[in-house]
């Protein structure tokens, strides 16, 4: 565990970058430091590997003051990923990745073999090994940066806005990749960003910092979204935090109905008996074909090309309430289609039913929080 204990950084000109910050970074999880520019998040990160020395306070790594270790040893035990990757332009990709192992005295062959392994782990083709950084795209360079940080298998990974300089599509890919790698490797990651969406997506815990380097709130993403500590945090989270919070609520409890689901070869009685305003027509395997009004359906001769599109379906349990709500909002009928992992319809659910589920979840959340209030 990394314990940041009432740490202050004051510069000679009197500027306070970090103000009495205390934070416990749990092992094997992603802790995100987020806040506007000038909130001291990068300074805080750089105090962990002593690129910046605190004016007051201590930082403990597994109970030991980080100042008691030689600084280069400390840094070699912590991977570091920086915005724009910061690769060595004069070294090949494989040599970039092998940098720290080589400094730790690994043989050339072993270091290069390790580098090749890591290229695969971060999703880079090993044919890029002998290229130079300028020959790679920004996203590929950033992957190399992550591989380089992981090379000596450090327990701690410090990431300073690593994905800020790439376009949104590449950024999403890198974020998903990081989550996947983290699932496999279980590093203790401290991640700095100014993007609250990134913080909520990646963080196990999120520390929101405000200008002047003070901690505004330290909580899990779900708690942050449901109970912001003050107006600053609420503003910082943005206007749609209610919707985003639904990402943390499961769609498993939604009550699905199958009354409005009919197969394409349904009988006239079956169509008439449903009583629903819209019917979802499925193919013989149970996959959704589209929506239709009962009056438009002629038993035994359903024209599938005339059906309204069924929109994107969701998988109850696997998808969040946010996804379910999105499906319902996008559906031409206002009903969301639920499918199993194989894409077969398990039922449909209305916007109203999703709204009920959201209210129920919020009510549950309030009692849960009351129960475990610190």
């Amino acid at each position: 565990m990394i314990r940041i204990d009432s740490v202050t950084k004051r510069y000679p000109d009197g500027t306070v970058a970090v103000d009495r910050l205390s934070l416990d970074v749990p092992d094997r999880s992603i802790t995100v430091l987020v806040g506007p520019s000038g909130c001291g998040k990068t300074t805080t990160l750089r105090m962990i590997n002593r690129m910046v020395e605190p004016t007051e306070g201590t930082i403990l790594l597994d109970g030991e003051d980080i100042r008691r270790r030689p600084v280069t040893d400390l840094r070699r035990s912590m991977g570091y990923v920086i915005q724009n990757a910061g690769l060595f332009p004069h070294r090949t990709i494989v040599d970039n990745i092998a940098t720290v192992p080589r400094m730790l005295g690994w043989g050339r062959q072993r270091a290069r073999k390790r580098a090749a392994e890591l290229m695969e782990r971060v999703g880079l083709d090993t044919s890029l090994a002998e290229r130079y950084p300028y020959q790679l795209s920004g996203g590929q360079q950033q992957r190399v940066g992550v591989a380089r940080a992981l090379a000596a298998d450090p327990p701690v990974l410090l990431m300073d806005e690593p994905f800020s300089a790439v376009d949104p599509v590449v950024r999403k890919g890198l974020q998903d990749e990081l989550l996947r790698i983290q699932e496999e490797l279980g590093k203790t990651i401290v991640f700095v960003t100014h993007d609250i969406d990134e913080a909520v997506k990646l963080g196990t815990m999120v520390a929101v910092l405000r200008e002047g380097g003070r901690l505004a709130q330290y909580a899990s993403p779900a708690e942050l979204l449901s109970a912001p500590a003050d107006g600053f945090v609420e503003d910082f989270l943005g206007a749609d935090r209610g919707i985003r919070r639904l990402s943390f609520l499961s769609s498993a409890a939604l009550e699905l109905t199958t009354d409005a689901v009919v197969p394409a070869d349904a009988s006239a009685e079956r169509i008439a008996a449903s009583g629903a305003r819209y019917l979802l027509v499925t193919d013989p395997d149970g996959r959704p074909l589209g929506w239709a009004e009962p009056g438009e359906l002629i038993a035994g001769d359903i024209r599938t090309d005339r059906l309204l599109p069924h929109g994107r379906p969701f998988v109850p349990g696997a998808d969040s309430l946010r996804v379910a709500l999105d499906c319902a909002v996008l559906s031409p009928t206002g009903w969301a289609v639920a499918v199993d992992a194989g894409g077969r319809v398990t039922g449909v659910v209305s916007q109203q039913a999703i709204g009920e589920a959201i209210r129920a979840a919020h009510a549950r959340g309030r009692t849960d929080q009351a129960g475990v209030a610190p």
Binding site: M51, N84, G86, H90, G138
Partner: protein
């Protein structure tokens, strides 16, 4: 005895001997200038406030005409090769210090910060990161210094015939053999071009990591924000 390559005997050298002498008098000072410029430039990078006065001082030295420089030095080092080479070394230094400083400063902030964060000490970082990345700028400085040095050696002809190929210019007047002057000029030009080509080749060998065609480091990763102060520690 009036051939293009017939060197008057009072020069005590054959044509190829003069070339060897000329190269030695021109290139040793550049090498000496480089050896002095590297630590001096590193000091200027590390202590920013040192750079303006160093730049000012070297510029003043550069403004001293070589002939005046030679005359002053004759009192100490006599009419020797050294008298020619000392000013040339100083001129090289003047060209190389800003070239190296700019080269080292052109290393992207992220690259430096990443090196520091990976546990590079200052010496390792200088030798393995800053200097190699500054190599193209240093070679560019060497090209200027070498060309100017090769041409300036000829002024040494005025102080006891220490001008190597430049001595041919004096001999051309003395013996009324203009072809010797043509020989001197063409040979010096050829030497300068040859040395320049070798330096370009050296840079190509040193920098396989630069984009082809442009031969300029493309800062694919440029900082959008000013780096916090610790980046350069």
């Amino acid at each position: 005895m009036n051939g293009f390559f017939d060197i008057p005997s009072d020069l005590q050298h054959s044509w190829s001997g003069l070339i060897g002498l000329h190269l030695r008098e021109a290139l040793l000072p550049v090498a000496a200038g480089l050896l002095l410029a590297l630590p001096l430039a590193q000091l200027c990078v590390r202590f920013r406030r040192l750079y303006p006065p160093v730049l000012g001082a070297t510029t003043v030295l550069y403004a001293i005409p070589s002939l005046a420089f030679f005359v002053v030095l004759i009192d100490y080092t006599g009419q020797s090769e050294l008298t020619v080479m000392i000013p040339l070394a100083v001129y090289s230094l003047v060209v190389l210090v800003p070239a190296i400083v700019d080269g080292v400063r052109s290393v992207p902030g992220e690259t430096l910060a990443a090196a520091t964060a990976m546990g590079f000490g200052p010496v390792r970082r200088y030798l393995q990161v800053q200097l190699p990345i500054a190599a193209p700028a240093i070679v560019a400085g060497l090209r200027v210094a070498t060309a100017s040095s090769i041409s300036l050696v000829s002024v040494g002809a005025l102080i006891g015939n220490q001008g190597a190929l430049g001595n041919l210019l004096a001999a051309a007047q003395k013996y009324d053999r203009p072809e010797l002057a043509v020989n001197a000029v063409l040979t010096m030009a050829a030497l300068a071009i040859l040395c320049d080509a070798l330096l370009v080749l050296l840079r190509t060998l040193l920098t396989p990591w630069m984009p082809r065609g442009t031969r300029r480091p493309r800062p694919a990763a440029r900082s959008r924000r000013p780096e916090p102060e610790a980046a350069t520690r």
